[in-house]
């Protein structure tokens, strides 16, 4: 599968990145190389192999249902790039 510049541009939107023309060109070539390399996995027969999403075969870990102190609001907001007293502020989400 070879990767096109248009696909890279589409993925950049999915990834919430905004790439310059030069970045799109470089990324198309570099990602293409890496994808070409990883495609060697296709030569392996993995039918019936259980996917391994995690290094540990752990089951759910449950905690007692007890409220514990969390991060205080001011501490949570302290690093906000744009905020008011109680909220994070972002550009308008709905139309004007």
């Amino acid at each position: 599968m070879s990767l096109t510049r248009a696909e890279v541009e589409k993925v950049s939107l999915l990834a919430r990145l905004h790439l310059s023309d030069a970045e799109l060109d470089a990324m198309t070539a570099q990602l293409g190389q890496v994808l070409h390399y990883v495609e060697q996995l296709a030569e392996l027969d993995t039918d019936g192999v259980e996917p391994m999403a995690h290094a540990l075969d752990v089951a759910n870990v449950f905690a007692d249902d007890v409220a514990l102190p969390g991060l205080a609001r001011e501490a949570a907001l302290a690093n906000a790039p744009h905020r008011d007293e109680v909220c994070y502020l972002v550009p308008a989400v709905l139309g004007e």
Binding site: L3, E7, V8, V11, S12, L13, L14, A15, R16, L17, H18, L19, E23, M27, Q30, L31, Q33, V34, L35, Y37, V38, E39, Q40, L41, A42, L44, T46, V49, E50, P51, M52, A53, H54, A55, L56, V58, V61, A63, L71, A75, A76, A78, N79, A80, P81, H82, Y88, V90, P91, A92, V93
Partner: protein
Amino acid sequence: MSLIDLSATELVAKLHTGEVACAEATRAYLDRIAELNPKLNAFLRVDADRALSAAKEIDARRARGETLGLLAGLPVAVKDVLCTAGEPTTCASRMLEHFVAPYDATVIARLKAADAVLLGRTNMDEFAMGGSGENSAFGATRNPHDPDRITGGSSSGSAAAVAARMAPVAIGSDTGGSIRQPAGLCGITGLKPTYGRVSRYGLVAFASSLDQVGPMARTAEDAALLLEAIAGHDRLDSTSLDVAAERYSESVSKPLDKLRLGVAREHFGEGLDGEIAAAVRKAIEVYESLGATIDEISLPHSKYAVATYYIIAPCEASSNLARYDGAHYGHRTDERAMQSELETERRALVAAGNKAAAENLDSPLVRMYRRSRSEAFGPEVKRRIMLGTYALSAGYYDAYYLKALKVRRLIRQDYDQAFQKVDAIIGPVTAAPAYKIGDKANDPLAMYLDDVYTVSANLAGCCGIAFPCGASSGGLPIGVQLQGPPLGEDKLLRAADMFQRITT
């Protein structure tokens, strides 16, 4: 002998008897940092006043006869990837340049509880993505053995700091070799514990199923001491193993009887530098002389490890790094400029009669995300986010991510089989000694292939240790790696200690 020449274990002993004051030792390291850091760029931040006052406090508590923690007064450097309450935690990224962590990572809390003196924060590849130390937004770390060369990465600053005696020990993190590879290239000892052995709470996430925090030190004995202080179950990390940490510092000096080492033929194939192959073969002979038995084993899927890793790790990274949205913390683009850019684009499209495209333009919120992330992430981070997003996108998930998860299982099964026969697998850490800074800057795939000997342990969830076993004709360190089964840290440390006792 200067204070900075003492091993961590020796220093802790001398602090304990009062022969050396903690303030004195801390000052010696701070002086060394002030002297060498301008050249090596190992530390991103050093808070000398805070470290000294913490050291004086420990001296005062000792003078009052208080019982102190395991590391009582030992200076420790920490990779800038672990949250420390009230202090910047940057991950060597413009994204987090001004981020101040609101809480302590469990590893930091344990270091504090063990009465370590935190010297400062070490440089790294941005968000721990890289194997050279060059991907830092704040400049490459330089190898103490030759400042024109890379340290390896991503725990570049921690490796350089220990190698240059700017710290007795340091904390690193290892997702695909980020402790072991720079340890090998800088001539120090670095251990990647079993996944789940050390808490990841407060570790800035890169690839959550692979990330693990571990010790970097001059010797296995020192690494054992630091591991003992940070290992153990943590209810704040649901992937933490509910198994008590061992007393590694007590057992490390006990030699192993009838050690069974495996040598994988796949580790000595094409691409391995001749001097490294020879040095590792020599290390194997050293073990034989110590009574170890050597068995040939096979890890048939190891040739697929890099491909598997460079699907799984970017997929997890693209998901983890989605949190950097410019809204909650981290860098945010200039909103006015962003709005006017959007307006200019819209007018141009309308003027060109392309109404549909004008209506499809990013919303201000989406453009804010995109610009904020693009301005603050470096090229390697962007590449991995793109790679992961692509591999997880509709239509490709099965061919890439799901396939990689299945191959991961096969890699794990190779290890399970090998560890039925042997206690540890001995082999190289890197295919070549440290290269010149800039040599692979435009070839990401070549850099990924450097991880060939280290990524499997992370994929399989095993532990691994790298330590020096020689030098190249150019005087650069060569490392050897031992990989062990889950929770095999004690054996790896003891095996490395046996080697170091007779070779150093």
